[in-house]
């Protein structure tokens, strides 16, 4: 870090004293950043320590306790693993389906000047912005009628409402970044449009595809509202199961904390891989790339 600062200050013609101030400032900013981050993450760390606290001492505020896995064991023994599995299936299923349907559409929009391209873009943006309650009312009625209530398939379908729009929007910008000349070369060699897409464009966009898939997975995994309304017991997802721990008279704080940690862990791991794409994904539809 100091190595990059030195040439910069030399280029600006700064005196050595100025350079020293510069370096000191950097250290100060780094220290400030680290402490502010610690402060911002303190609530999360508190949840983590609580999950390792023995139940007898769960309400204590001090940090003097022997860590235990009893909360996690209690979690594994109950119905929570099943809910975790439902979350996993619904998120993975919806991610797969949105990529399967959305990726070709994104490529088509990136490469062909459809006359209604602008309207489609606006449609996607409104889908991203629409309040979930607006979707739940019709879906609740339709699912009851179709027998999709309280099923993982039902969740897969409703997660398409946000995932599909996200896939089309983000993949479109990834495809637009691949030079057309590569495809044109493949076309001259006799490849069809979708052949050249599969052999040339898609492999070149693999990192973008992975990032988009992970974003879809995280968004579905994080859903609480849809699962709360559209599932009961057979397809209950992990976030809804956590809330159910809160319904009992004696709040099982240890179990709640442990379940929270289990649910947030996959998200943290995935986020690390897509950190540079994350903001772009969340902005899907709002900014023209």
């Amino acid at each position: 870090m100091s190595s990059s600062a030195a040439p910069a200050s030399r280029a600006l013609g700064l005196a050595p004293a100025r350079r020293r101030v510069w370096r000191w400032q950097r250290h100060a900013v780094h220290a400030t950043g680290a402490s502010l981050l610690f402060l911002a993450l303190l609530p999360v760390l508190w949840l983590v320590q609580m999950s390792f606290r023995p139940n007898a001492n769960i309400l204590g505020a001090g940090l003097a306790f022997t860590p235990t896995l009893e909360n996690y064991r209690a979690l594994a023994a109950g119905g929570f693993p099943a809910s975790f599995l439902h979350s996993l299936l619904a998120s993975a299923g919806s991610t797969f389906l949105s990529l399967l349907i959305g990726v070709p559409a994104a490529y088509a929009l990136a490469r062909f000047p459809f006359r209604s391209g602008g309207q489609i873009a606006m449609w996607i943006l409104v889908t991203r912005m629409a309040p979930p309650i607006a979707f739940t009312i019709p879906f609740f009625l339709a699912f009851t009628w179709l027998g999709l209530m309280d099923t993982v398939s039902g969740l897969v379908i409703i997660y398409l409402t946000f995932n599909l729009a996200m896939v089309i929007w983000t993949m479109k910008s990834f495809f637009a970044a691949v030079p057309r000349s590569l495809e044109e070369a493949a076309w001259i060699d006799g490849a069809g449009i979708w052949q050249s897409f599969l052999r040339v464009t898609l492999p070149l966009s693999a990192p973008g595809l992975a990032a988009t898939g992970i974003l879809c997975f995280i968004m579905s995994w994080n859903d609480f509202f849809f699962a709360l309304i559209l599932t009961r017991t057979n397809a209950m997802t992990a976030p809804v199961a956590i809330v159910n721990f809160m319904q009992y008279a004696g709040w099982e704080w240890g179990k709640i904390a442990a379940a929270g940690v289990v649910v947030l862990l996959p998200v943290l791991v995935f986020t690390f891989f897509v950190r540079s794409y994350l903001v772009r994904g969340l902005m899907a539809g709002g900014v023209k790339e």
């Binding site: 999360v44 929009l109 943006l125 309304i229 929270g260």
Partner: protein, 298 residues
């Protein structure tokens, strides 16, 4: 193959690629939207058979909403919540971005760390703040007590419940503004900054006249996104206050949820949801205009 034939082939192939997505998107978004609009014109409730086909007073739900004090109250609360939370997270995000705007490996790691609150499952955020706001278990209350500042339970007091939710929501989302502004600041050319420094501009002048004009587009988009999303805040309210105490945190989204799923007023709930979509649509038009996505320039 001739050029004309190739062009027809291209159109055919691309249309084929786009069609399935449009069909599915229409089925899961446009269809439900139309259905919502239709049910909003009926007094639909599962209690009364046939109520879903009763179009005798199509606008009854909308006129009821306009004169229903609890609905108007919820809109007021919504405005209050949005104003506090968007204001707070914009200030915090912008301030931190200005403070942490240094390009180095170390700062990149820090930035990744700041992603955590906004990617956490919202239900986990809700649990975390439930713990922080529950006296007897909260380290926050323990610390305040230790320093001799006893505070009552914030989420059971009607006067503080909504601001308490706004604080939790701001914690979850300030990283969004932070990252947006940081990204904009780092794309800023160095010359104007150097020029202003040489001209003797102070830190405030530097911000107001040089940096702010440059980051304004990114900041505006971030604010609009957060504004729209603040209308949808749900898990925090569900877990922390359940709309209470009394009606103190029953914002419009929550009001629609309760009317629909607790009282089974499907038609009325649909009308409220339709009004919400209309509001969101208007805000989205603004985003599209400012962000460059519009029907005109495609």
């Amino acid at each position: 193959m001739t050029a004309a034939a190739w062009s027809i082939e291209q159109r055919r192939a691309f249309t084929l690629g786009l069609a399935p997505a449009l069909v599915v998107l229409a089925a899961v978004t446009l269809g439900p939207a139309i259905y919502l609009l239709v049910t909003s014109l009926t007094p639909l409730t599962p209690v009364t058979p046939g109520s879903g086909l009763d179009f005798s007073t199509p606008l009854a739900n909308y006129t009821q909403a306009l004169f229903e004090s609890s609905f108007l109250h919820s809109v007021g609360l919504q405005l209050e919540l949005s104003a506090i939370t968007v204001g707070l997270q914009t200030l915090v995000g912008l301030g931190l971005a200005l403070l942490l705007n240094i390009e180095s490996r170390f700062m990149e790691a820090i930035r990744t760390g700041f992603l955590v609150p906004m990617v956490l499952p919202p239900i986990v955020v809700a649990i975390i703040w439930k713990i922080l706001y529950t006296p007897g278990i909260s380290p926050l209350y323990a610390t305040l007590n230790f320093f001799g500042i006893p505070v009552g339970s914030l989420i059971t007091d009607p006067a503080t419940a909504l601001p308490a939710i706004a604080v939790a929501d701001s914690w979850e989302w300030f990283p969004f503004t932070l990252l947006m502004v940081l990204a904009a600041l780092q794309m800023m050319p160095k010359e104007p900054l150097e020029a202003a420094r040489i001209d003797g501009a102070g830190p405030f002048q530097m911000f107001w006249y040089v940096k702010l004009p440059f980051i304004r587009p990114a900041l505006t988009i971030a604010v609009l996104f957060r504004l729209i999303d603040s209308i949808k805040a749900f898990p925090l309210i569900y877990v922390l206050t359940n709309g209470g105490p009394g009606l103190a945190t029953e914002v419009t989204n929550y009001y629609a949820f309760i009317q629909t799923f607790n009282f089974a007023y499907w038609g009325y709930g649909s009308a409220i949801a339709t009004l919400m979509i209309a509001g969101v649509f208007l805000l989205s038009l603004l985003v599209a205009r400012l962000g460059g996505t519009s029907a005109a320039d495609e």
